[in-house]
Amino acid sequence: MTTDELEKLLAVQPVSLLHQLGRGRIPRHFRLGKRRLIEALLRSTATNRAGLESDLLALMKDGDQQQIRPQAQPRTEPASPRRQSVSGKPEPAEPATDLKAFLEGIGVPEPSPFVPDPWQEEALAHLAETDVIVSVPTGSGKTYVAVEATRRAIDAERTVIYTSPLKALSNTKFTEFSKLFGADRVGILTGDRRDNTHAPLLIMTTEILRNLLYDAAGGEIDVRLDTLGLVIMDESQYLADPERGVVWEETIIFCPTQARLLLLSASIGNPQDIAAWLTSIRPTPCHLVRHNRRTVPLRAGYLHPSGKLAPLFRSVGIPHGHASLHQESKRLFSQYEAETLQPRSR
């Protein structure tokens, strides 16, 4: 995209989307009007347009999908009562939801055959060519990407290393992957134990991999790294951990160039920065897969100590950006404050 094209595209976006782009890029973006916001965006990204472009496209896609969803899945998001009661008078704001609508639709979905999500396919397709970062909400199905990518690598006779931040998580994954791939094809390395280190899939904490890479660089190798085809780093938002984050950086810096990197992360604010960083140090440009949509829609409620439940927001789902509270939860909360702030009668 040329700067002009980008500017035109930005100009037709809603202001709220521009503000989302402005986060982390422009100090006090919320003070700026649309025109100045676009100028500031272009200025602040003068040296790195790719990040802005990919974010813009991702946000535009998000917006589209949010618009289609209510029609596509009418059962999970019951229509708000407003649909039936549209009268001649235009209302300034949508009427607030009620508890009944809020609690409607709870249940178990019909079992359906497993169909990978488009973003899962996208990640796997790109992994054939480049490093990939996946930054999607909790519980979206990142493990599927890890498993499928592992399967493909093993089929191509490459070895795979899967790292997690915690020993407990390594253990769970060891059990899970042993069931999937067969116990003889999965090994685990911890600080004090090494089981089945010649298996094509090795599970370890990130610290252990970092140590392996240092040993390899220093000339002592005890796990074969030359056939390594894929390194999966789960929960890579740990990059920002005050004590341990440095280990993720070391591991990524020293990850063998012939191996692909797959970074799986919960939603973070700037995955495009990580992608740009990887692109700057790795042999192939890194592909970013990112979205903020929750697969299972989430609603927020307020429960008063008396057991009374109310929707937290005026809308059934959780709104984006600025939110106004439901009048009932507002009332309950001020009641709570009044009750608890009263001097103790003892």
Partner: protein, 618 residues
């Protein structure tokens, strides 16, 4: 009305609205345990079929993890279908609860917010009762990412059509933090890169010194620093443009010349300042404590309004606006952190040193600042001696009669401020571009001083083995080895010392006493740790914690329950302590090529240590 809902009522309300299974996040382990206790007196019990299912699942898990069978919480979990899950529990117990939850056999789990990311532990509903978490000492507000990580566990794919995040108030709640967290964007993450001694050794083992700077440049840290440098560079360009009208005049460096002239003129009437003796760290900071700068103070944050010197001692002071708009004066040395964040200030010549609307604005900014802010990298360099004004007589200056005098007089203030801005920007850019390299060099300086590196930064014989010690406090450990502190010690003493080095929690408790043999070695370790303090933060070196490990390793007949009975430490904490000790010992074991005896002792300690529950997991 109680300040928060009773756990039994909470679960009843959730059941009533069909909102189970639920994860209830509570502020502390204690709160989770208390919640479980509250159910002891509750008469409600699960239908027999559910109870049998829970029992069967636990029994099956117990074949792999025997400690589950004897767990004291088993009966209540079976009876009411509610459990607690927190770091005070053994990993095997947590696995059991996770499995019960996955199978849909539990209605609720009380957990702390430390419930780790990635643990497959979803529910239909998540209950949030707090808006802040304890980090080291203080409580900090939950970030948007943290709120979303908690709420994100609600709504299981394939099992729920919709998930719920339910907020219930407690004295610990700020509703604003939670609604912002639910509706806002997750925060961008920042690099936390740091350079340890073992990193320096390992880098130098594999790469010549000449390549190190380019390797460090590949870090995410440098990537982000470069971006900040680029922003500053573009600001610097603007500053250079603004400087253009103030180029050379009759004298090339007229700004300095005029400044000296002014100083000389003032000094005629005033006493000469006493020579300031300030630590270089403080001096290099002063450049950045300019109006608008966000700083960290011992309590909270503030924005600098002006910098000045105190009347008597002439020590550097700053006036800052703090949260809630209070304007206070404090010594510049009390500034704990200088953040990479500036706001515009409309300065004013008298208290509060800025325009009233500016003060309001700054107070607003302060309250909106994110929890984490990038710190400004400041290179501490010996300052070039402040150019002493050699000429003290105004008559020696050409200025009074110079043709450019009116122009110089008029422009001096602006030009000087611009020039200082330019210099400050240049300093910041330099620090951003070279900071990592300087940090690396300060590590290698120490490693050379201790003899792990040659003067040309090659690994010495000691450096060759020391680089294999890759945990926290590596300098202390390698120095202990070199001081032969471990020669001939018993395996249990070695294990005890390693656990006191690894343990970094100061949660108090009661513990067994240590043996005289251990306390002698412990004393030596403490002394060495203190002497290394300028180079490496000393570990807590808790004797009580060491004694616990000593007990376990020295007495192979001691059972897990027996060990737990000797202390008030939670069994999950004991487990983690011993598991970490195992890792430290394993690293000592890798020194078998150079330190045969030590490696053998470590191996013996490992064998004694790894038994019972410590064998349950790889």
């Amino acid at each position: 009305m109680p300040p928060s809902i009773h756990p039994v009522d909470l679960i009843a309300a959730l059941r009533q609205h069909n909102l189970t299974p639920a994860i209830v996040f509570l502020t502390s382990r204690r709160a989770c345990d208390d919640a479980m206790q509250a159910f002891e007196r509750d008469q409600v019990a699960l239908p027999p079929a559910r109870r049998r299912n829970i029992a069967a699942t636990l029994q099956e898990l117990a074949t792999q993890y025997p400690s589950i069978a004897e767990h004291p919480l088993v009966p209540i979990v079976e009876r009411i279908g509610v459990a607690a899950h927190h770091a005070g529990h053994l990993p095997s117990w947590k696995i059991a609860i996770e499995e019960l939850m996955r199978q849909g056999l539990l209605d609720a789990v009380f957990a702390t917010t430390t419930l780790a990311a990635g643990v497959d532990f979803p529910a239909r509903t998540v209950v949030i009762t707090q808006s802040s978490v304890r980090k080291t000492r203080d409580f900090t507000d939950l970030t948007n990412s943290e709120v979303q990580q908690l709420a994100g566990r609600a709504g299981r794919r394939g099992k729920d059509l919709v998930g719920f995040a339910v907020v219930t108030p407690s004295p610990y709640i700020d509703l604003g933090v939670i609604t912002k967290g639910l509706t806002g964007q997750p925060e961008p993450i920042d690099s936390q890169f740091s350079i340890s001694y073992s990193m320096a050794l390992n880098l130098l083992k594999a790469h010549p010194l000449g390549q190190i700077q380019s390797i460090l440049a590949r870090s995410f840290a440098q990537f982000q620093l470069n971006r900040r440098a680029e922003t500053l560079e573009s600001k610097l360009d603007t500053l250079h443009v603004q400087m253009e009208p103030y180029g050379p005049r009759v004298c090339t460096d007229w700004i300095t010349q005029w400044q000296s002239f002014e100083q000389a003129r003032k000094r005629k009437s005033q006493r000469v300042h006493p020579k300031r003796q300030e630590p270089p760290e403080l001096t290099s900071r002063l450049h950045f404590l300019t109006p608008g700068r966000v700083v960290g103070l011992t309590r909270g944050r503030g924005i600098v309004l002006r910098q000045y010197r105190s009347r008597g001692q002439k020590s550097p002071m700053v006036t800052v606006v703090r949260e809630a708009g209070a304007v206070t004066e404090c010594p510049a040395s009390t500034v704990t952190q200088v953040f990479d964040r500036m706001f515009d200030v409309q300065e004013a010549p008298a208290y509060p040193w800025c325009a009233p609307h500016s003060l309001d604005e700054l107070t607003g900014h302060l309250s909106e600042l994110p929890v984490r802010l990038p710190v400004l990298p400041i290179l501490v360099q010996p300052e070039p001696e402040e150019r002493e004004v050699a000429l003290t007589l105004t008559d020696d200056f050409p200025c009074p009669t110079c043709s450019s005098r009116p122009a110089c007089q008029k422009d001096h203030a602006t030009a000087l401020k611009l020039r200082q801005d330019v210099q400050r920007h240049q300093k910041m850019i330099h620090a951003l571009r070279t900071g990592l390299w300087h940090r690396f060099q300060s590590r290698t300086d120490v490693l050379q001083q201790f003899g792990y590196l040659t003067p040309t930064c090659q690994l010495t014989a000691d450096g060759e083995w020391a680089r294999l010690i890759r945990m926290d406090h590596s300098l202390l450990i390698t120095e202990l080895i070199r001081a032969e502190a471990f020669t001939g010690v018993e395996p249990h003493v070695l294990a005890a010392i390693m656990s006191s080095i690894s343990h970094d929690n100061d949660r108090p408790g009661s513990f067994p006493r240590m043996s005289p043999g251990l306390s002698t070695v412990m004393w030596q370790v403490r002394r060495l740790a203190e002497s290394l303090a300028p180079h490496e933060d000393p570990p807590l070196l808790r004797a009580d914690v060491a004694a616990l490990t000593e007990r376990w390793v020295s007495d192979p007949n001691l059972t897990w329950l027996g060990l737990c009975r000797t202390t008030t430490m939670a069994e999950g904490d004991i487990y983690r302590l011993l598991a970490r000790t195992l890792e430290y010992l394993s690293q000592l074991h890798t020194l078998k090529g150079t330190h045969r005896g030590l490696a053998d002792t470590a191996d013996k300690a490992i064998k004694n240590l790894r038994r019972g529950v410590l064998e349950e997991l790889p």
